[in-house]
Symmetry: C2
Subunit: 198 residues, 2 copies
C-alpha cells in the first residue's frame, strides 16, 4: 500500500524541492517562452511559494538561465565584451565565446543547450528566452542604434558557427584555430554591431 | 491467413516501387551519409536491380536530391549564380535563395528539409550530402580558391538565416523585406566567396 502524498504537502526544505522547481521551470519556459512564464506559475507547478523560488534562484532571469542548465552564466561571460564598448566588441565577443565552447569541461553542456533550442519543441527557449534575456541586452548595454535588429544579425551568424563548428563538426570550420575563426568572423560581426546597414 | 510475400518478389513495375526505392534511399542516406551509400545498396534495400534505380532516378546525385524531396532542384536554382562568375555571386545567390524560400508553394517543403537536416538523426544529410553535393560544387564551379573553405563559411551564415528567418521566425529578420536581406547579407557572403580571408 502506498502512502498518500500530495504536491501541496511537499516540504519546502526537502532535498528535491530545488530540482522540482527547476524541472517545472524548464517545462514551462519551453512551452510558453520567457515572457509567458511567471515565477508564480513555476512555484505553483512545484507546489511551493513564489518566495521560495526567489530564495533558491534569484530573479526570473536567473531562474531562466538555471533552467537552461548552462555551466557558465552567459551574462558574466559577456560582461567584459560590454565593458569595452562598441569598438572591437566583435573580436572580444568571439574570444570569450570560443574560449567557452572550446573548453572540454563546458562544451558538452553548451552542446546540450544548443540541441535543445534548435529542436522545434524547445525553440521558445531561444526565441522567447535566450535572445531577449542574454543576446538583446548586449546590444542595449553597448548603446547600439537598433540593438534588437543588430543583435539578431549577430545571432544569425553565431548560430551558424555553433551549428557547423560544434554541433555538426563540419570541416574546415571544426578544426579551424581559434585565431583564424576570430579573424574570419570578426569583420562580419563588427559590421552587424556598428557598421552601416540598410 | 496472410498471403506469403517476399521483398525479392516485388515487381519492378508495380506502382509503389518508386516510393519503396525512395524510402530506402532516404533512410540509407540519413544513416550512412552520401559517401557511405551506394546505388547498389539502395537497390538491394528495395529488392530491385541497380539499373532500375538509375532508370527511375538518374545519377546518385539525382537520387540523393530526390530522397530529400526538395520541391525544386537546387542545382538548377544555383545555375545562374554560377554562370555569372564570382563578381556579384553573393547578391545573385541571395536573390534566388530568398525567392525560393519566400514562395509559399515551396517554403513548406524547404522547411521540412531544414528541420530534417538540423535534427541530429538527419545531420548526415547536411554534412555528408547537401554540403558536398550542392554547396561545395558552387565554389568549384565559380573557380574560387579554397572552395570548400569558402563555401563552408557561406553555409555558416546561410544556415543562420534559414534558422532565424524561416524556422524560428525571429523578428526583425522574419519580416525583413527581401531587398534589405540582400543588402544586409550580400557583403558578408561576397567576402566569404572572394574577399581576403585569414
Amino acid at each position: 500500500m502506498m502512502a498518500t502524498t500530495t504536491r501541496r504537502g511537499r516540504r519546502p526544505g526537502s532535498p528535491d524541492t530545488r530540482a522540482t522547481i527547476l524541472a517545472g521551470a524548464r517545462s514551462l519556459f519551453a512551452e510558453n517562452g520567457y515572457a509567458g512564464t511567471s515565477v508564480r506559475a513555476v512555484a505553483a507547478a512545484a507546489g511551493v511559494d513564489a518566495a521560495l523560488v526567489h530564495h533558491y534562484f534569484g530573479t526570473k532571469d536567473d531562474l531562466f538561465l538555471a533552467a537552461l542548465e548552462l555551466p557558465v552564466d552567459p551574462r558574466q561571460l559577456v560582461a567584459p565584451v560590454v565593458a569595452g564598448g562598441p569598438d572591437g566588441a566583435a573580436e572580444r565577443f568571439l574570444t570569450v565565446f570560443l574560449a567557452a565552447w572550446d573548453d572540454p569541461t563546458i562544451r558538452p553542456s553548451l552542446l546540450a543547450v544548443a540541441r535543445a533550442v534548435m529542436d522545434p519543441a524547445g525553440s521558445k527557449l531561444l526565441t522567447d528566452g535566450f535572445l531577449p534575456v542574454v543576446i538583446q541586452p548586449v546590444g542595449v548595454a553597448l548603446g547600439l542604434d537598433r540593438p534588437e535588429h543588430r543583435m539578431t544579425l549577430v545571432a544569425s551568424q553565431v548560430l551558424g558557427i555553433i551549428l557547423l563548428r560544434y554541433v555538426l563538426s563540419v570541416e574546415p570550420l571544426a578544426s579551424m584555430p581559434r585565431d583564424t575563426v576570430i579573424a574570419t568572423y570578426g569583420p562580419t560581426l563588427q559590421r552587424y554591431l556598428t557598421g552601416p546597414l540598410p
